[in-house]
């Protein structure tokens, strides 16, 4: 499927989706509430078949937190990027996709660890790299740690 068709397909699925222009991949902002159903549909439908989540990234955009999903279809060879915002910086939460793509289980734990985004319904939502009693989430832009960080 080429980009225009994919765009139509996603608009039909999630009417609220906003698209970003001039990107390497087709990029769509999806409202957090619709993520799980949209992802499930994109994976299971014959014509899209996005079965391979090759990258999942948490980003701190200072105003909001964002999770970026890079999807690829091994059958058709097309790719799409989904972005989901979490507005609440104190208790951000997004639905998990690890029942759809198993690789997300660890990736989501990493995002939780480093950015503090909680994933609802995740089977094992713990920190993965840092200690359980570590304070703060280091990849946030406002993370301060006078003890451990030596600034250059």
């Amino acid at each position: 499927m080429d980009q225009d068709k994919l765009k139509e397909r996603i608009t039909a699925l999630v009417p609220e989706a906003e698209f970003e222009e001039n990107k390497q991949f087709l990029t769509a902002f999806i409202p957090a509430g619709k993520l799980h159903t949209a992802a499930q549909n994109l994976k299971e439908a014959e014509d899209t078949a996005f079965d391979y989540l090759f990258c999942q990234t948490g980003v701190d955009m200072t105003k909001y937190l964002m999770v970026v999903y890079h999807l690829n279809s091994t059958k058709h060879g097309h790719s799409v990027v989904l972005k989901v915002k979490a507005d609440d910086r104190v208790n951000p939460a997004i639905d998990t996709v690890c029942d759809i793509w198993r690789t997300a289980e660890f990736l989501e734990r990493e995002i939780y660890d480093l950015l503090g985004i909680h994933f609802n319904n995740h089977p094992d939502m713990r920190r993965i790299f840092l200690d359980e009693n570590w304070k703060g989430h280091p990849l946030r832009k406002d993370y301060k740690d006078e003890v451990n960080i030596v600034e250059l």
Binding site: N22, K23, Q24, F25, T27, D51, Y52, L53, F54, C55, T57, V59, D60, V68, H70, T74, G77, W101, R102, T103, E105, F106, L107, E110, L114, R127, I128, F129, L130, D131, P138, L139, L152
Partner: protein
């Protein structure tokens, strides 16, 4: 006659108990900790605990310029150091739309393939050692030294080179480069037969690896298992074929694909990859065009604001670099999609129901580099 008491054995069989493998354990290849639930000798489930070498490279990169980031990517997957460097260089070159000289592309491709071979040699050495064949360790590392010599001659160091820079290479290759590479190929073609004789056809080895740790194609895709491990399950994921970079489009090579997906085929996939890599090198080594070893670059590299994604095929699978730039000389956010991190996720799935000794074989066949998991 006194009756033999069976109760302790029974208790062992019925009760589930947990053992800790690592963080300091020779067969986890670094500081990985696995908490294994066992029933008798059978693995019931397994929980990897990582972070014992989490160095926060992604956070550091936010304060570093792009040429500096190259030095950090070396230290993630140190056995594919050149290929990681290549990823960052391609990211910068694509974003700035720099055309690198043809000579650079050839040299980079050849060196990438040499890196792949040396990584697989070390993997083979450790795989043999994990299964109890210490000889493999010495054979593998003996041949690896030959490649390190070539690297040392041209790049100036043995393990972490940072030889690629955005736009080209740090300096030109050594005049001896072509000759030493050709010598090596001739040498290694002979030696790789030893590898097969020692391990591939060994009956004990086959008993321990065949039909152990089966991974289906659907699971491989869902878990994101790339590289030789994924291809052994039939997941066609070779970035060199699907999104060619360097001069892979000019070389003729086969993507190694199997459908069985057990430990033995993950092994064979890597062995075959070494042959393919040698084939690629042989095709390219005589055709390195003359020219500059670097394109003209500005002193300060600033990527235009936007998002970039670049993927390369390391010795362990697909490495992706996702970079968000806000137009400064340092990235706003950079994420490394490391192949090992995804591969680790499948370990629990693969080892359930097998003996704990098989867990070692399965883990070795996935070829972990722990700092690449933790970054």
């Amino acid at each position: 006659m006194k009756e033999v008491i069976h109760t302790p054995v029974k208790a062992l069989e019925e009760e589930e108990y947990h053992i800790n493998m690592g963080p300091q354990h020779p067969s986890t290849h670094g500081v990985l900790r696995l908490v294994v639930s066992l029933q008798g000798e059978i693995v019931k489930s397994l929980k990897p605990h990582c972070g014992y070498i989490h160095r926060g490279i992604e956070k550091m990169c936010e304060k570093d310029t792009y040429p500096q980031i190259i030095h950090l990517t070396d230290r993630m997957d140190y056995l594919s150091a050149h290929i990681n460097n290549h990823g960052v260089c391609l990211l910068v070159e694509d974003a700035l739309q720099i055309e690198v000289p043809e000579r650079v592309k050839y040299i980079r491709t050849i060196i990438d393939e040499l890196t792949r071979i040396q990584s697989h040699q070390l993997w083979w050495a450790c795989f043999g050692m994990d299964l109890g064949g210490l000889t493999c360790f010495f054979y593998g590392l003996r041949d690896r030294e030959k490649i390190l010599d070539i690297f040392e001659e041209s790049c100036g160091s043995r393990l972490l080179h940072s030889y690629y820079t955005p736009g080209g290479l740090m300096w030109d290759i050594h005049p001896n480069f072509q000759k030493s590479v050709k010598d090596f190929i001739k040498y290694f073609r002979k030696k790789i037969k030893d590898y097969d004789r020692l391990l591939s056809g060994n009956i004990i080895f086959m008993e321990r690896t065949k039909n152990v740790g089966h991974l289906s194609k659907e699971d491989a895709i869902s878990y994101g298992i790339t590289g030789p491990s994924g291809r052994a399950s039939g997941f066609s994921c070779d970035i060199r074929k699907h999104h060619p970079y360097g001069v892979y489009d000019k070389a003729d090579f086969r993507e190694i694909l199997f459908t069985e997906g057990d430990t033995y085929h993950r092994y064979i996939a890597r062995m075959d990859e070494m042959h393919e890599s040698m084939k690629i090198i042989e095709q390219l080594i005589d055709n390195i065009p003359a020219g500059d070893f670097s394109a003209k670059m500005k002193a300060v590299i600033k990527l235009p604001a936007g998002e970039y994604y670049q993927r390369v095929e390391t010795a362990r699978g697909e490495m992706g670099i996702y970079c968000i730039s806000d137009g400064n000389k340092t990235p706003y956010r950079i994420k490394f999609r490391s192949p090992n991190f995804s591969n680790l996720g499948v370990l629990d799935h693969l080892s359930r129901g097998f003996k704990i000794a098989d867990l070692v074989a399965i883990g070795a066949s996935l070829d972990f580099v722990i700092p690449d998991i933790d970054r």
